[in-house]
Amino acid sequence: MNNQRGVSLVESLLVIVAVAAIVFLMVNIPNVVNLMGKSNHLSLVREIGLKQLEDKRTTSYINLVNGTTTISDTRISLLPQGTGTVTVADCDPSICTNSEHIKKITITVSWKDNNKQQDFKIDTFVGEGGLNQ
C-alpha cells in the first residue's frame, strides 16, 4: 500500500522530461518567430533589390545618371524601418582601364530586425549596349 501511494522514479523522470520539453519550446518560440520574420524580410529585400537591378538594366545607358536615389518600391514599407538607395557611378578607372562605357550599380536596402540594423547590398555593372540595353 505504501509503495502504491508514492511517486515512482519513472514517473518523476517523465515529469522532468515533460517540463524540460515545455521549457525548451517556450524558450525557443521567440527565436523561431524572429528567425521566420528575418527570413521573410531577407526574401523580400532580395526581391526588392533584384527588381531595382533589373529596372536599371533596362534603362537606357544614357539615362543612367550618376548619383544616389531612394528606392520607391512600395514593398519596402513592409520592412521594419526599411529604407533603400540605388547608387549609379562610373566604373572605377582602375577596373575600366580603357574608359569603357560601364556604370556600376549598387543597391542598398536597410531594415531592422529586433532593433538590429540589417543591410542588403548587391553590385553589378551595366554597359552601353549591354544586356537588355
Binding site: A21, N98, G130
Partner: protein
Amino acid sequence: MKKQGSTRSQAGQIILILILVMTVALGIGLSVIQKSLVDISTASKAEESSRAFSAAEAGVESSLQGNTNGQNFAETLSGFKNVSDSGLIPSVPAVGSRQTALEYLLLAKEDIVHIWLADPNANLPTCVYSSVCYNQSTLEVYWGNSSTDKAALELTLVYYDGSIYQSRKWYLDNPFAVRNPPNGFDTVNVFCGGNYSLPGAVYQCHKTLGDNSGTNNTSLLGPLNSYKLMLIRARLLYNTNSQPLAVQAVGTCGRDCSLPPQARQIVSTGISGETQRTVKLFQMYKVVPPFFDYALFSSGEINK
C-alpha cells in the same frame, strides 16, 4: 483491492496521455524550429546566389565592352572571374592550321542563313586590314544529310564593287535529283552522295565556290579581284525535312584566311561567399532579315 487496482490503472493512463501529448507538442515544436532554420538558410543562400549572379552579369557587361579582367566588389564580398570571350565563332585558327567549319543548325525548306564574309563591326565596305574581309579565292560549302530527300542550294553573294553593292546568285543542285537538269540548276562539280564528314554532321553535297566550274561560274574573286566580299545568303530548296548546312574557309594563314566573326560566346563566373554562378552569353552579330531576299531595294525612286 479491486478498487485500488483500478485507480492505479487510471493514473498510468494519465501519464501515457501526457507523454503522448508532449511527444506531439515536441514534434510540432521541433518541426517549426527546423522549418525556420531551413527558411533562414534558404534565404541566406538565395541572397548569396543573387549576388553571385549579379557579379557574373557584371562580368558579361564588362566583357561586352572588351574588358575581360576579373573584379571584386569589396563592399559585398562578391566579384567575377574567369571571364572569357571567344570573340569569334568559329574561332581563329593558328597560323598553319585551317579554320574549323561554320556549321548551322538544321534548316527547313527555304530557311535562310546569313554568312558574313566581312566583319560587320568594321567600317564597311572598307577592308583596310585583310582580316576584315574574306580574301581567299575559294570557299567550301556543304549541305544536306539525306540521300533520298535531295536538297538544292541557293546562294546569294553580296559584294562591293568599289562604288555600289552588287549581288549575284547561284543555284546548286544534287546531280542525282530527277528535277535536274530541267530546273537549270548548276550541277557541274557539285559532288553529292560523298558523305562529307564534319564535326557536327555528315553532309551529302559539297561544292567549292570559286573553283571556276559550273554553268553559272561560282567564281568568288576571279573576275572580282578588286571587289570586296560582304556576305552570302544561303537557302535550302526542295528538301522535305530540315537539313544541315556548313561553310568552311580555306587556307592556313590564320586570321587572314578565316571567315570574320559571325557570333561570340562570353562566359563569366560570379562568386559570393561559397556560391558560384556562371553566365554564358551567346551573341550573334546583326544579320539582314529574311525579307531582304524577297524585297526590291532602290537608292532612288522606282518608276513603272
